[in-house]
């Protein structure tokens, strides 16, 4: 594929007799954010580690920028970077010193000027002289992101970059990621357990389960595969009338409260059910339609249910 930054074909990994990755394949096009999701043990972190060259695969092929990763490892790594909540920088030395070390490791030209530009962009100037381990979680995440941009990468692999951040800092971090996706045309492979984040920033999602790709689509496309919606009606009037109608119309419903009914149905049947319910003589006071989220897809996969 011409515009692919990363192509993965039939990637396989065994740990002894345990099959961690079972021939997964996917592409990451230029400028796209791809989410890699799945329950614990699905193979997400193993995939990231193999794509970074710090774990060896047992089979398959990885191509960055159209070239074989194994054969052109150093050239590829020069244009890749990595950010993770679980990897931090050297705690004993200052933020500035850490960034300078990485600028040299990536052979950055004019390293001090480059660091200053990024430091201003991420607004971390005031704690440049602090030791890395004295920073708050949010500050550490920002410095990690600076490190991940220091070589002007074409692709960044992010392993749960917002894990352990409070919602406010996580939101700011996601905004920064959105910014540099938009402004720099970066490709990103993003893993997270937070489905709202994935829905927000990913163009496409790959679901892994037991080392296999079980679904791959846009976040919206994936939720549409579930098909069912949850219709919640609040009403005044005779509950029996509504119950009789729903028995005829849709078998899957329940009354969690006296004047509230929850109906599981197809999205296209919602208007018909609401109209029919209003004709039974009860007074509908509130209508709420809950569409499936990526979390529902995740739960279906994690619990072993089939996603179309």
């Amino acid at each position: 594929m011409k515009d692919s930054i990363l192509e993965v074909k039939n990637l396989a990994k065994n740990y002894g007799s345990f099959r961690a990755l079972d021939g997964i394949s996917f592409d990451i096009p230029k400028g796209k954010v791809i989410g890699l999701l799945g329950p614990n043990g699905a193979g997400k972190t193993t995939t990231i580690h193999i794509l970074l060259g710090i774990t060896l695969a047992n089979g398959g092929q990885i191509k960055y920028f159209g070239r074989d990763f194994e054969r052109h490892k150093q050239d590829s790594l020069q244009k890749i970077n990595f950010a993770s909540a679980y990897n931090t920088l050297q705690g004993r030395i200052s933020v500035w010193e850490n960034l300078l070390v990485f600028a040299y490791l990536y052979s950055v030209k004019n390293p001090e000027e480059k660091i200053r530009k990024l430091v201003d962009y991420f607004e971390v100037r005031e704690f440049l002289d602090k030791r890395f381990w004295d920073l708050s979680s949010g500050q550490k995440t920002r410095v990690n992101l600076i490190k991940s941009l220091i070589n002007d990468p074409e692709i960044i692999l992010m392993d749960e970059p917002t894990a352990s951040l409070d919602p406010d800092i996580a939101d700011k971090t996601l905004s920064l990621i959105e910014d540099f996706k938009k402004n720099r045309g970066l490709s990103i492979l993003f893993t997270s357990h937070k489905m709202d984040e994935v829905t927000r920033i990913c163009d496409e999602v790959i679901f892994l389960d037991r080392g296999k790709v079980v679904a791959q689509d846009t976040p919206l496309g994936l939720t549409k595969r579930i098909g069912a919606v949850q219709l919640k009606l609040s009403f005044d009037g005779d509950k029996k009338l509504l119950e009789n109608y729903l028995i005829e119309e849709s078998g899957d419903f329940s009354f969690p409260q006296n004047f509230v009914v929850v109906i599981n149905t197809e999205e296209k049947l919602v208007p018909k059910i609401v109209f029919g319910a209003s004709k039974t003589g009860v007074n509908i006071t509130d209508i709420e339609v809950k569409k499936p989220t990526l979390e529902d897809v995740f739960l279906q996969i994690a619990r072993g249910s089939h996603v179309n």
Binding site: I80, I93, Y106
Partner: protein, 262 residues
């Protein structure tokens, strides 16, 4: 080979050394305390036993510190990044193993040279052992052989740490001491039982310590000892690099390298 990447590792080494009390204690403080303690023991030996024994002891500790510091720098240098959860970040940068090793070799050699000079000044001023009595040429050759041996030990221990993780990290600063008696650092080799003498002569530092003790009375270079030690050193270095590569590959294959940081 990239000078920039080597400079990056050396800078990190410098920053960690400056900012870590542990490194300052392990390298500078303990080295000076060892020399002071052994210096006083040597004064006691001079007065009550033999001046030669006293000089052998103090000379031994000065040269031993070259081995300890170089090997410590090599093995513990990687552990600082493991403990900081930074090792993956380092190795997903385009640095090659050769560049990484060379950086630590340079760093260890500089530390050993600086500390050795400081210790020698201390020994000369407080305990009347002028290391220059050994001869400058001899000192340079001894330094070369001792540092190469330390690289081999450091590289092998680094491989074991990468393969088996931090649960065996104590080897990084402890294992080297097994070579202290085996290389006859403080006494002539003939003191050792015959079977240990055989082992001692398979270790390059033994030749260095023997030659250095001879040099106290005869500063002529013992080329035989130097060449034999150098050849064995090259053999050990090749084996250590092969062993490291094997451990590193196994570590990456088992997923251990990526999990080193917990």
């Amino acid at each position: 080979m990239s000078i920039s990447r080597i400079k990056g590792i050396l800078l990190q080494e410098l920053y960690i050394t400056k900012r870590s009390l542990e490194v300052i204690m392990d390298l500078f403080f303990f080295s000076f305390v060892f020399v002071i303690v052994f210096g006083f023991v040597s004064i006691f030996l001079t007065a009550n036993v033999s001046e030669t024994a006293a000089k052998f002891l103090l000379l031994g500790i000065l040269l031993w510190e070259i081995i300890r510091i170089t090997q410590y720098s090599m093995s513990v240098g990687a552990l600082w990044n493991v403990w900081s959860h930074n090792l993956s970040n380092m190795f997903v940068a385009p640095i090659s193993l050769k560049e990484y090793m060379l950086s630590h070799i340079i760093s260890g050699a500089i530390k050993a040279l600086v500390i050795f000079c400081g210790l020698s000044i201390l020994a000369a001023n407080l305990f009347e052992l002028n290391i220059l009595d050994v001869g400058l040429g001899n000192l340079a050759l001894h330094f070369v052989n001792l540092t190469i041996f330390s690289w081999s030990i450091g590289i092998a221990i680094l491989g074991i740490i990468f393969r088996f993780g931090t649960r065996i990290q104590a080897l990084a600063w402890g294992l080297v001491y097994i070579f202290q008696p085996l290389t006859a650092a403080f006494f002539p080799v003939e003191i050792l039982p015959p079977f240990l003498q055989t082992i001692a002569y398979t270790l390059p530092p033994t030749y260095v310590f023997e030659a250095a003790r001879q040099n106290l009375t005869n500063p002529e270079i013992n080329w035989n000892f130097f060449i034999v030690a150098f050849i064995i050193n090259i053999f050990y270095l090749v084996v250590a690099i092969w062993f490291f590569n094997l451990m590193f590959k196994q570590s990456k294959d088992a997923g251990q390298f990526a999990r080193l940081e917990g």
